[in-house]
């Protein structure tokens, strides 16, 4: 840990032989049987080509050697990890290490930033989501997203929730029911049921964030990505959202980025620690996955000294 | 989506249209008049009995009005820009910026009228005792300069506002006062944007028609004295358009030769300006 400029690939603590071929997820084709899911083989994280959490459950999303670029700048280098079904997976790490970038790669939200590029494979139930025939819109419908700053639309509360079902052309017999159900799911119904027609901007920050969650579950996704969903909220609102996440994981798979390590420790089943190290010479720092394991393991007995340094607050 | 692409394509069609509609008659023109004569001749009498086709008189006319205009609009425009971007309170800026921008919104015929009936005879002659001719390059240039003050000010202000707060704060944090912060940090950092502002002002000045057509005079001659009249490229096009020529005649094609010259000139100026703007965009 004395040379911060060392390229991640030459880092001695994580050796990464060429990735072992994975079934179904390297071909770039998406005509695979949609019902098949992959069980991640158990492997020792250090020795294996694939950094996986031990005791891995069935994977919903698997990433293999995923690197993300903004133009010519490689923001994240070769991330290989699996997102377990009905689990909460936390991504932690210092600012700029690429947590958000990785998260957004998982449902192709990065497509929207011009010049971005993703290499490697991200498979959702074994289907390459960057495959040729894949419709990113469908990917995003199945893998929803909640953002750091609550971002309700400048519309009524009702319209915010109804928007998703409408634009995705969901068959809805009664929109009112969908709205109510979603708001209940986000533990917001009681607070807003009397002002559904009012502007969403009138809600408090925490309520707005729950509205965004309601909006997301209205389109019935399978996975929900959350990018620091509580960092703009106060303690009470934060703990409400955390409670909500624990409830939601019964029905959904959740990936959350947080800079609050205690939050990760409280809610996550598995935690991935990322960091970014400066390349030789000038400022560009490339993020990479240092360690990915069960949350208790990461916080009590991390395998990498950088993880330990970060957890114990020595930087970040 | 198709409509969006087509709409975007309109701009390309426009450029092609301009080039074609200028180039075809201009080619005809250059069949009869050598490019050398056109570009180096110092006499411009295309519509007289023994026509001459040296465009330099029109170019000197344009250069004079433009130079005078810039000598007004650069100092005033930059001064106003610095004031608005660095000194004015939000309230002041909210009032003065749009007010100043009205200067660019005043129709140019109104400016033309103002130049001929007020700036020339009253301001220059009566108040300042300068013996200007009824139609003078000076009066036209001054009013043209006033018109482009907001052009210069606005883009220069944008460039200065684009200088990151962090740099200003660093300077203030070191105990620099406002003037020094402006002159030593903000201005140098914004210099390419400011240059772009000036270049944009330049291209406006070169392309403006009505003010010079109404106030600069219509005699194409090598301008040496700004107190006298002179004709600019745009002034020629406008006055030639008022009288009419038979399509296909040499005189008619003259219009397009000058139009093409004007177009190419502004194109060059604009390319320079785009370069400059891109450079200042790159930094931050």
């Amino acid at each position: 840990m004395n040379d911060p400029t060392a390229a991640p690939a030459s880092d001695p603590t994580v050796t990464r032989p060429p990735a072992t071929p994975q079934p179904d997820d390297t071909s770039g084709e998406s005509t695979v049987d949609t019902t098949s899911t992959i069980t991640i083989p158990r492997m020792d994280p250090i020795d294996a080509g694939r950094i996986t959490a031990s005791e891995a459950p069935r994977a919903v999303i698997t990433t293999t050697d995923v690197s993300c670029y903004y133009g010519s700048f490689r923001a994240v280098n070769e991330v290989t990890m699996d997102i377990g079904l009905h689990e909460i997976t936390a991504l932690i790490g210092p600012s700029g290490c690429g947590k958000s970038t990785v998260l957004r790669a998982l449902n192709r939200m990065n497509d929207l930033i011009p010049g971005t590029r993703v290499t490697g494979t991200i498979a959702y139930h074994g289907m390459d989501i960057y495959g040729k025939d894949v419709d990113p819109i469908e990917v995003r419908r199945r893998i929803g997203m909640v953002f750091q700053k609550p971002n309700p639309f400048p519309k009524s509360i009702y319209d915010n929730v109804a928007y998703g079902p409408k634009v995705t052309g969901m068959k809805v017999s009664n929109m009112d029911d969908v709205v109510e159900e979603s708001l209940r799911g986000a533990a917001l119904w009681d607070e807003v049921k009397d002002k559904l027609k009012q502007s969403a901007y009138g809600l408090s920050g925490g309520q707005q964030q729950r509205l965004c969650i309601a909006r997301t579950i209205a389109v019935k996704p399978e996975v929900i990505l959350m990018d620091e969903p509580c960092s703009a909220l106060d303690p009470i609102a934060t703990s409400r959202i955390e409670d909500l996440m624990m409830e939601l994981k019964e029905d959904y798979t959740i990936v959350i980025v947080t800079h609050n390590m205690q939050q990760a420790a409280r809610v996550a089943d598995r935690t991935a620690f990322f960091t970014a190290e400066a390349a030789e010479g000038h400022g560009d720092r490339t993020g990479h996955l240092v360690e990915f394991d069960e949350t208790t393991k990461i916080f009590s007995n991390p395998a990498d000294s950088r993880t330990e340094d970060y957890i114990s607050g020595r930087f970040g | 989506m198709g409509f969006l692409v087509v709409a975007a394509g309109v701009s390309i069609l426009t450029t092609i249209g301009i080039v074609v509609s200028l180039l075809l008659p201009a080619i005809q023109f250059f069949r009869e008049v050598s490019i050398t004569e056109f570009l180096t001749g110092t006499s411009w009498t295309p519509r007289f009995q023994d026509p001459t086709f040296g465009v330099l008189p029109l170019i000197t006319g344009t250069m004079w009005t433009t130079a005078i205009a810039l000598s007004v609009s650069i100092p005033i425009g930059l001064g106003a820009a610095i004031y608005l971007s660095e000194y004015a309170s939000t309230r002041t800026r909210k009032f003065f910026k749009p007010t100043l921008e009205l200067l660019a919104g005043v129709p140019s015929v109104v400016y033309g009228l103002f130049a001929v009936t007020f700036v020339g005879p009253v301001v220059l002659k009566e108040w300042l005792g300068i013996e200007v001719a009824t139609f003078s390059v000076l009066a036209a240039g001054l009013v043209l300069g006033v018109m482009i003050i907001p052009t210069v000010a606005s883009l220069a202000e944008d460039a200065m506002s684009a200088v990151p707060r962090a740099l200003r704060e660093a300077s203030y944090g070191l105990g620099a006062n406002r003037m020094r912060t402006v002159l030593r940090v903000v201005f140098p950092a914004a210099v390419s944007g400011i240059a772009a502002a000036i270049v944009l002002g330049l291209s406006r000045a070169v392309g403006e028609t009505m003010i010079v057509a109404m106030a600069a005079g219509s005699q194409a001659k090598m301008v040496t004295d700004p107190l006298e009249g002179g004709q600019t490229m745009t002034g020629f096009i406008a006055s030639a358009a008022l009288g009419d020529s038979v399509q296909g005649s040499l005189q008619y094609n003259t219009l397009f030769a000058v139009g093409l010259t004007l177009f190419v000139l502004t194109l060059i100026i604009n390319i320079i300006s785009i370069r400059l703007v891109n450079r200042f965009r790159e930094i931050y």
Binding site: P114 | A8, A80, V106, Q247
Partner: protein
């Protein structure tokens, strides 16, 4: 914890203004110069307005609006044909420029990849067209009219010239307005599985309307004051009728002013000034409207 060594503080100078402060002579002179620059611009504007009003105020009357121009009797002549002509031409301009400009901007801002050659070409074109002198657009529209075989001095040709003239401005303004729409709104929509086109029409464009309106109104007000391109269309004619269609002949306010200003009788000069007042009022009103929309928009957010 480190031991606290509370040493006596050194003699502290007062914090009052020193020579390098904000109020030293250099700074004051600099500030005065800046202030004078701004004041000069405003002063010229005021002088121009006052001068025009003094000259034209006697002819600000009902006849200015209801009567046609007159060869014989300038005292009762009016700008009716020019006012209506301006309305027709600017209306045509708006109908041509706004949909095309907004669509082009939406394409460039929301869909085109920065690396696409077509998008880069369009962008370069827009930047270049913005600097093309107005009079060139007149030459283009004249050529276009001849090419399709309609007379040059028609509302449609005038509208086309002015629409092409302001198209780059509309595009730039729309792009800026679209850019000002928070990315979160788009992301929120897309993350729900809305298509980019749905996101554009249902979220981004509605949110950008105030900005687009601001830019477009300013562009139209500029077009309204433009005379040069219309002169190239043979627009300087004696018109004593209301335009009644796209192929109708027309005159506009700036052309009428140019025409009147070119006549020697004092009464026509006054008429030119009066029409200038009218045009200035329109321009100022449009600018004001644009500012109101902009302010409402920025404070409302």
């Amino acid at each position: 914890m480190a031991a606290i060594t509370a040493e006596p503080t050194a003699v502290t100078r007062p914090l009052t203004a020193a020579s390098h402060g904000e109020r030293n002579p250099q700074s004051l002179i600099f500030l005065i110069l800046l202030w004078a620059s701004l004041a000069f611009g405003i002063l010229v504007l005021v002088v121009l307005l006052v001068n025009t009003v003094l000259e034209g105020r006697s002819r600000i009357d009902a006849a200015l609006f209801t009567n046609y121009t007159s060869q014989i009797d300038p005292a009762t002549a009016g700008a009716r044909a020019a006012i209506l002509g301006t309305a027709w031409v600017i209306g045509t301009t708006a109908l041509l420029a706004i949909p095309i400009g907004v669509a082009a901007a939406a394409y460039l801002e929301e869909f085109a990849s920065k690396t696409s050659r077509f998008a880069r070409l369009v962008e370069l074109n827009v930047q270049n067209l913005a600097a093309v002198p107005a009079i060139i657009y007149g030459m283009l529209a004249a050529a276009a009219a001849v090419a399709v075989g309609i007379p040059r001095n028609t509302v449609i040709a005038g509208g086309l010239a002015l629409a092409l003239l302001i198209l780059p401005v509309v595009i730039v303004a729309t792009r800026e307005a679209l850019r000002a729409v928070p990315q979160e709104i788009r992301q929120g929509s897309l993350a729900l599985g809305a298509s980019p086109m749905q996101t554009l029409t249902r979220q981004t464009l509605p949110a950008a309307v105030p900005g687009i309106a601001t830019g477009t109104i300013l562009a139209l007000s500029r077009a309204m004051g433009e005379a040069a391109p219309l002169l190239l269309l043979g627009g300087l004619v004696f018109v004593k009728f209301d335009p009644n269609g796209l192929l109708s002949g027309f005159t506009t306010m700036p052309i009428q002013i140019f025409d009147w200003a070119g006549r020697s009788q004092v009464a026509f000069q006054e008429l030119a000034a009066a029409a200038s007042i009218l045009l200035l009022v329109l321009v100022i009103a449009m600018n004001g409207l644009a500012i109101i929309i902009r302010n409402k928009f920025t404070t409302g957010r």
